[in-house]
Symmetry: C2
Subunit: 145 residues, 2 copies
Amino acid sequence: MRADSRLSRMLHVLIHMDRHDGPVTSELIARMLNTNPVVVRRTMAGLRERGYLTSVKGHGGGWALARSLDEITLRDVYEALGEPTVFAIGVADDDPKCLVEQAVNAAVGEALREAEQRLLSRFGEISIGELARDFDRRMAECTAG
Amino acid sequence: MRADSRLSRMLHVLIHMDRHDGPVTSELIARMLNTNPVVVRRTMAGLRERGYLTSVKGHGGGWALARSLDEITLRDVYEALGEPTVFAIGVADDDPKCLVEQAVNAAVGEALREAEQRLLSRFGEISIGELARDFDRRMAECTAG
DNA sequence: GATCACGAAACAACAGGAGTTGCATAACTC
DNA sequence: GAGTTATGCAACTCCTGTTGTTTCGTGATC
Ligand code: FES
Ligand code: FES
């Protein structure tokens, strides 16, 4: 499977929008992400439904933030995307007859579940505002150097 | 992508082989896993190269364990499979020009790397022998009840 | 009403695991 | 040594889910 890059793409977009006055069109966002306006609308639809974004049709329309970046965590974005599959690996059969396979699934499944929990918890601790400030630091270093 | 089930499949097979006298053919293993002998050979090739298994051609041939299950961890099997991709999610561009994207990649990439490290460490702590003993417990419960 | 921009549906492209077929090769049996 | 068994390898197809593209509809602005 190709890696699902929707999460990082949305974070990228949200920060850019925060530093931008007025609504941003799907067309412009698509150019930033090197992709297609339709893909942008599809991906951002979930964030609009959750109330993180608004979209306005017609002339002068486009996308705008409905909340501060400090109020949105990486986990919020992950969930707005429909909680996509985290792992590329998994068990062969979720409810096997074979007792050996049940023992294997118990161990592997447990490890995966725990790793997923930890990852999502970590995502819940990171606000996009923090990422934006990290960007500011990088920018300052860049212009200073 | 469909979830990569090779890890759990191999664990399943290894435990079965441990409880089996003499070599096991790819044909028999394929029936256990509800799959194809060629898929079995392809998947098990890596374990042979690492010295965990041996394979013998010809009449009376097949696959056999070359080590005790207590000497093989889940991580060993994972690595023998070629360290397949762990996550289904990832960043859009590994080396972006855009500073915003760099900040995003730093945060998301770090969280993913750490989660992967933790998961693989956990895999390194679990030997297949333990899984086999867990199977024994399940079996005892089953016959007792 | 012309233009701009989102909304939704339908479809092709792509990637990687899984499944399949065919043939070569090695080992054992007789 | 001929026949059988079983792995080894290469070259497909199939499946699933993200990504990319086209088309048409609709609402808002000028
Ligand atoms: S396939 Fe029957 S016990 Fe594993
Ligand atoms: S696309 Fe993000 S800074 Fe240029």
